[in-house]
């Protein structure tokens, strides 16, 4: 039977949905377990969770973009919430698990974006030796990449002297959580989150600006180094 007949007889579609659902439910129990493990301090659980969440977020993000194109809006909390419900199954989720899920999601988002930003910068500055597709080069602006990297570094530094604030920023900025949700996830009052958030924003932004300046100097010196080397070779 030719393949299109299969589709025509509507046999493939239902099978595919079943398969999809089966995969979802398999990961559902393991995701819940991994969250519990991670909560209890098992760091390897986070490593296992990351790819699962990554895939799910990307899948949803894809639809996010589609919807955006169609003029619908999709709220970030809803995005993460949907990811959670899909990964952890449709049963009524435990709040604790969900809070941790948000925390993990925010971390994963941070990793994905920073990773991407670094690649973007690499392409810009060292990438002349690299085959770059048009799409890849146009995805994230140079400015945006620079900002994200600066934020990431500033956030690491903030963590050293005020780790709670770095957590708040991670959830709010990378996880897209509202003040209330952040408060829930970190078991803090909304008031405290609000104050942490504003102080952290001020400090981070100032740090990022300093970082940008020194970053520019670093690239400038690297560029001149490359130029020197090239002229020495010729």
């Amino acid at each position: 039977m030719p393949a299109w007949r299969l589709l025509k007889s509507d046999k493939i579609a239902p099978r595919l949905f079943l398969l999809h659902r089966k995969m979802m439910s398999v990961s559902a129990s393991s995701v819940t377990q991994l969250l519990v493990d991670w909560q209890q301090g098992d760091q390897s659980a986070l490593k296992k969770l990351t790819p699962l969440i990554y895939d799910e977020l990307r899948r949803i993000a894809h639809r996010y973009v589609q919807h955006e194109r169609n003029g619908q809006t999709l709220q970030t909390t809803a995005l993460v919430n949907e990811a959670y419900l899909r990964l952890a199954g449709q049963k009524k989720p435990e709040w604790q698990n969900r809070a941790h899920f948000f925390a993990v999601t925010a971390q994963v988002m941070r990793h994905i974006l920073i990773d991407h930003a670094r690649r973007r910068r690499y392409l810009k500055h060292g990438g002349q030796f690299q085959q770059v597709t048009l799409e890849e080069a146009s995805m994230m602006s140079e400015d945006r990449a620079r900002q994200l990297i600066a934020l990431d570094e500033a956030l690491d530094e903030l963590k050293d002297f005020d780790s709670r604030k770095s957590k708040v920023v991670e959830l709010r900025y990378f996880g897209g959580l509202s003040l209330e949700e952040t408060a829930n996830a970190l078991d803090m009052s909304v008031m405290t989150v609000r104050r942490d958030w504003r102080a952290a924003k001020a400090w981070l932004f100032r740090k990022m600006q300093e970082g940008n300046e020194s970053d520019d100097r670093a690239w400038a010196s690297r560029q001149s180094e490359i130029t020197n080397r090239q002229s020495a070779m010729s």
Binding site: W4, H62, T77, N81, L113, F161, G176, A202, F205, R206
Partner: protein, 683 residues
């Protein structure tokens, strides 16, 4: 920085930020007396804080979603999909990419359209893909793209079709190198393909320049039967797809590409037949000749209004000296673009026959080949017999211009008188409200909408403002759409007859009225909220998981004590919604503008609301705040709010106008607000 030092700095920073901006400098001086280092440290942070808000306003997860999605969008050359080897990407469609591939079995080039795994969980898209394959494979015609096979490779579905090395009509229009002969040729072949499809009982429904491609040897092919519809009784396993207009409902300004080509009946959501394709062909033909669409506008709403109510600008001017062939083309275009399907070409064959005849005549006179069309109407007018002297021609032009000006003034005068009369009719004794909306003329509808909007604004405690034309039309388009839902034949899947929807009101309106009255929220707002939010479906769940009459996301619902399972329970949700709105109103003010922002932003968090409100008020602190200032000033809002404002505000009034004029819409019930008021007064 050490934790101790930071502790000290933060203390001062927080205390400074607690004060209004004007007092901050003085406070810093006082708080850091004698500690210059602390002062400079803190003041630089305060400074940074003001700028930081912009950077942090939108979370990265929202800003950069595109990046995450795109990071593996491209499939590398050389990769194999099923039996095919990828050569390069040649296009991206709504639901997947198109690649040029090589089929080693037959050693030929093939176009492969891929649908990605993540779409597979999306019912409608997979169905669309199936439709496309099924429909196209049922058709075997030179002017329709041949489908070779449909298949699947692990997580990817694909359709393999013949590869066309050529340009789409869109590209040809852009290149501006079409001659009159080309245009007639393309239109003829397009119509021949449609004739074949119609004969097989298939309507394309999405004919537009992007979906028609011309091979280098001149052969024209129709692509993308993705939303095609089977003419005869659709089999149960092929429920008809929602047409693009359904999607436009959710996004003003997004579907411009397609909206310009849909027929009036398609836009109105009425049943369509092959004559809808004839209309679209008319639009394409017009566009090939004029390099612009017959009906256009800055927004979707404008385009829709133009299409439903106006006649297109004549293609070649009105000059009597226009070549007979061009006049004939004008006749063909006019006939294809008749608003009533019965007045249109009844078949593609009829339209093609007329075009063929024009072509033949031109060929006999050997006049067509060198004539370039579009962008430069004078070239076409060179077809005019050059008998008159330049001076004579100039005087003819002047005479025509004078005549035109007279006509325009006369028309304006008549139009204004007509409008004034319609308005007078409406306002005297509320005559229009007694008449069925569906029987009103377009002008009467507008007048009706305007009068009702004023009334409802006043009911909500808003000082009514005179609405702009754009706003009025935006409401009217939506009222039209709902009013059309009055016979089951015209309903799309998932839609309900208007009467069915309002018949449910007795169940939930008392509950909402009580909950909203308890929180002192204007009842009108509460009553119509569920109608707009759920697009008239009581337990509708959208793609993001927002659900129920009030379309909360589970997070928001949970925050107000409603679990996910209870989100369709109006008894639980009405108090939660009232609570939520009351909370925000207490914080932001109870003017309708703040309230609208709140309604638009359930799921965006109150930070976003606050920020938007601040920005709006900053622009002009004195303007009258009501629903419509938000609509009128939506360009000052962020993109999400812009879209939501463009969609919800008119939608809200459309729902209210229907609910407040049940007689005009043949709903046998009291007005919803009186209904709600009775309930809350009995408390």
């Amino acid at each position: 920085m050490t934790p101790e030092r930071w502790h000290r700095v933060e203390e001062v920073l927080q205390a400074t930020l607690d004060r209004p901006p004007a007092d901050r400098a003085a406070f810093l001086d006082e708080a850091c007396a004698g500690d210059d280092e602390l002062k400079s440290e803190t003041s630089s942070l305060v400074e940074a804080y003001d700028e930081a808000n912009d950077f942090f306003a939108e979370p990265a997860i929202a800003q950069d979603a595109r990046v995450i999605f795109n990071s593996d969008a491209q499939i590398d050359a050389g990769r194999e999909i099923g039996p095919y080897k990828i050569i390069k990407r040649i296009g991206g469609g709504g639901m997947g990419e198109v690649y040029l591939v090589h089929d080693p079995r037959l050693d030929r080039l093939v176009a492969l359209k891929l649908i990605r795994s993540w779409f597979v969980s999306d019912d409608a898209l997979l169905r669309r893909f199936q439709t496309e394959a099924r429909v196209a494979s049922a058709l075997n015609h030179t002017n329709i793209l041949t489908v070779y096979e449909i298949g699947q490779d692990s997580e990817t579905f694909f359709i393999a079709t013949e590869y066309i090395d050529g340009l789409t009509i869109r590209e040809r229009i852009r290149a501006a190198d079409l001659t009159l002969k080309d245009v007639l040729e393309i239109a003829g072949q397009l119509l021949a393909g449609l004739e074949a499809a119609h004969a097989a009982g298939i309507i394309h429904r999405d004919i537009k320049p992007e979906n028609v491609i011309q091979r280098r040897d001149g052969v024209v092919k129709i692509l993308d039967f993705g939303i095609a519809k089977l003419l005869e009784k659709p089999s149960p396993e092929t429920p008809s797809e929602p047409s693009p207009v359904v999607r436009t409902e959710t996004g003003v300004g997004v579907m411009l590409g397609t909206i310009g080509y849909m027929s009036p009946e398609q836009v109105r959501g009425l049943p369509v037949d092959e004559r809808t394709d004839t209309w679209s062909c008319g639009v394409v033909l017009y566009e090939m000749l004029a390099a612009q669409r017959p009906f256009g506008g800055q927004t979707n709403a404008d385009t829709l209004v133009a299409m439903l109510e106006r006649e297109p600008v004549p293609l070649f001017g009105n000059g009597a000296q226009t070549h007979p062939a061009l006049r004939q083309i004008q006749v063909v275009v006019d006939k294809a673009l008749r608003k009533e399907p019965v007045e249109r070409y009844q078949t593609a064959a009829d339209m093609r026959a007329d075009l063929e005849e024009i072509k033949r005549e031109l060929e006999i006179n050997k006049q067509s080949s060198a004539i370039r069309v579009q962008t430069n109407v004078r070239d076409i007018q060179s077809l005019a017999p050059q008998t008159s002297s330049p001076r004579l021609r100039r005087s003819i032009v002047m005479a025509i211009a004078a005549l035109l000006i007279t006509i325009i003034f006369a028309a304006l005068f008549l139009y204004q008188r007509h409008q004034a009369r319609a308005r007078a009719n409406a306002l005297s004794a509320n005559a229009l409200a007694q008449r069925p909306y569906l029987q009103m003329t377009e002008a009467e509808r507008l007048t009706f909408v305007e009068a009702q909007e004023q009334r409802i604004s006043a009911m909500m405690g808003d000082r009514p403002v005179k609405l702009s034309d754009e706003a009025l039309r935006a409401i009217k388009v939506r009222v039209d759409r709902y009013a059309a839902r009055q016979n089951s034949a015209s309903l799309k899947p998932g839609e309900e007859d208007l009467r069915q929807v309002y018949a449910r009101a007795p169940e939930y309106i008392p509950v909402i009225a009580r909950a909203f009255a308890a929180r002192k929220i204007p009842i009108v707002v509460g009553v119509y909220l569920p109608l707009i939010e759920s697009a008239y479906r009581p337990c509708y769940e959208n793609e993001i998981g927002a659900k129920g009459l009030f379309q909360f996301v589970p997070q928001t619902a949970e925050h107000y004590g409603v679990s996910r399972a209870e989100m369709c329970d109006v008894q639980k949700m009405a108090p939660a919604a009232a609570h939520f709105i009351a909370d925000r109103m207490a914080e932001l003010g109870d003017d309708a503008q703040s309230m609208t922002l709140v309604l638009l932003s359930y799921n965006r968090g109150e930070d976003a609301v606050r920020e938007s409100l601040r920005r709006l008020r900053e622009t002009d602190a004195n303007y009258e705040r009501n629903f419509w200032t938000l609509f009128a000033n939506r360009d000052k809002l962020d993109e999400t709010f812009q879209k939501e404002s463009a969609w919800y505000v008119p939608q809200f009034f459309a729902a209210a106008i229907i609910g407040e004029n049940p007689d005009a819409f043949d709903l046998q019930m009291p007005t919803l607000s009186s209904f709600a008021r009775d309930v809350s007064e009995k408390r």
